[in-house]
Symmetry: C2
Subunit: 205 residues, 2 copies
DNA sequence: TAGATTGTTAATCGATTAACAATC
DNA sequence: TAGATTGTTAATCGATTAACAATC
C-alpha cells in the first residue's frame, strides 16, 4: 500500500460498504460488482471502484469483487480485523442501551468497561459489566490500554470527561452529548445526535 | 426567500449552528460573529456567512448576529418552530432509550407513539407512552397524521416496517437498523450507526 | 471469442476559501 | 470617524462522474 493520504470522506464510506457486503454474504452471495454494491449503498459504481482502488486491486475485470475477500481487505484497512475494547462513560439510558448493543461485537468492538458518577448505579451489573466509579476511570483505562471510548453523559459534563479520557490514553471518542468537545489533534471524535438528523429532515417536510 | 435550491449539505449544517447558538445563549451571550460561531462548530467563518446568507440577511456589519434572532430564523427555516410528534417503532433498548430522551422536546420533537410486536411489551407503559401492537400502527399513525418516525427494530424487519410507515403517511424516517431501506422519493431517511462511526475512527489508530 | 467489469485518467461538477466593498 | 464584520463575488480546491483501455 502506498502511503498517499486517503481522503477522510472515503474512509467514512468504507464502513457502509462493509455493512452492505455483510448483508450480501448473509444472503449467500459470493461475488458482487461495483454496480450492485453501489445500488445497495446509493453511490455510483464509478465512485465505488475509485474508493476501493485507493487501497489496492481487489476486483477482477469481467467478474467483479469476491465478497468475502473484499470484506477481509476492508476490515484490515479499517483495523477491525481484531476486537477493540471500548469504555462507556455514563450509564443513563444511552449508555445502558449501548452496553447491551449486539451489533458491536461482529463489527469489531466490545464494551468492556462502564463508568458512572451516581452512587446508586456504581457497583450494579449490566449484562456482564460492573459499573465503576468514574473516579477510577483514568487509572483503569490506562492500565488496560483501552483506546476507544463512548461518552454518554450530559452535555455539561462532556468536556470534563473528554479530558480525563485523553489523559487515560483514549484516541477515539464517540460522543453522544450534544456539545462539541475540544481534544488534542491526535484524538478523533465523532458525534451521534439523533435530534440533528431529525431537524435536517423536517426542512423537507 | 427566493426559491433557489439550497444544497442538502448546507441544510445538514443548520442543526449544528442551532446547537452552538443554544449553548451560547445558555451562557448568557447576546450576539456572536461568523468567526466565533465557526470556532464552535469547527467550520470557517466564510462558510458560516455563506450558509446563513442563503436564507436572508440575518447579521449586521460590524456587529455580527443576534443569537436569539438567528436561532429563531434557523428554526423557522428547518420548520422546527413547532413541535413534531414522533412515532417510535421497536421498544428494545434503543427505542426505550429514545422514548426517555430529554433532548428531543427542546429541539422540536416529542415521542407520542410507541410500537412493538412482542406481546410481553405491548400494553406496558414507558414514561407516559403506552406501547401499542404494531398491527395497529398504520391506522394509528394515519389517523394522528404523524409525519416523523424512528425505526429501532432488528435489520431483518426494517424494510417491512419502513413500508408500513410509508403507507401510514410518514415522510421522515430516522433508521437505527443497520440496513439501507428503500422508500419512495418523497420520503427522507437518515441513518444512525454507532459502529460505523467507531470503524471510521479506528482507521486512524 | 464475446461479454462483462475493473482500474484509472480526464472532464465535470460542486463546495470551500479568499478577498473586499458595503455598512453598521 | 475608525474598527469590525457582514454579504457576495471570484478563485481555488477537491470530489464525483464519464469514458475507455485493459483484461478476466
Amino acid at each position: 500500500m502506498t502511503t498517499k493520504k486517503i481522503p477522510d470522506i472515503i474512509i467514512g464510506r468504507l464502513p457502509l460498504y462493509l455493512r452492505a457486503l455483510a448483508r450480501m454474504e448473509a444472503e449467500g452471495a459470493i461475488v458482487t460488482s461495483s454496480k450492485a454494491l453501489g445500488d445497495w449503498v446509493g453511490i455510483s459504481a464509478a465512485q465505488i471502484r475509485k474508493d476501493i482502488s485507493q487501497f489496492g486491486e481487489f476486483g477482477k475485470q469481467g467478474t467483479g469483487y469476491n465478497i468475502k475477500f473484499l470484506s477481509e481487505k476492508l476490515k484490515e484497512i479499517l483495523k477491525i480485523d481484531r476486537v477493540w475494547d471500548v469504555a462507556i462513560v455514563g450509564m443513563g439510558d444511552i449508555g445502558r442501551g449501548l452496553s447491551h448493543y449486539e451489533g458491536f461485537l461482529e463489527r469489531g468492538f466490545r464494551a468492556t468497561l462502564a463508568f458512572d458518577n451516581n452512587p446508586e448505579v456504581i457497583g450494579s451489573t449490566i449484562r456482564n459489566l460492573t459499573v465503576q466509579d468514574i473516579s477510577e476511570m483514568v487509572s483503569t483505562i490506562s492500565k488496560k490500554e483501552i483506546k476507544v471510548a463512548i461518552i454518554a453523559v450530559p452535555a455539561d459534563n462532556a468536556q470534563e470527561v473528554a479530558e480525563k479520557l485523553v489523559k487515560a490514553g483514549i484516541k477515539s471518542i464517540l460522543n453522544y452529548a450534544t456539545i462539541i468537545i475540544n481534544v488534542p489533534e491526535d484524538v478523533r471524535v465523532q458525534y451521534i445526535d439523533p435530534a440533528a438528523h431529525l431537524q435536517w429532515m423536517t426542512y423537507y417536510l
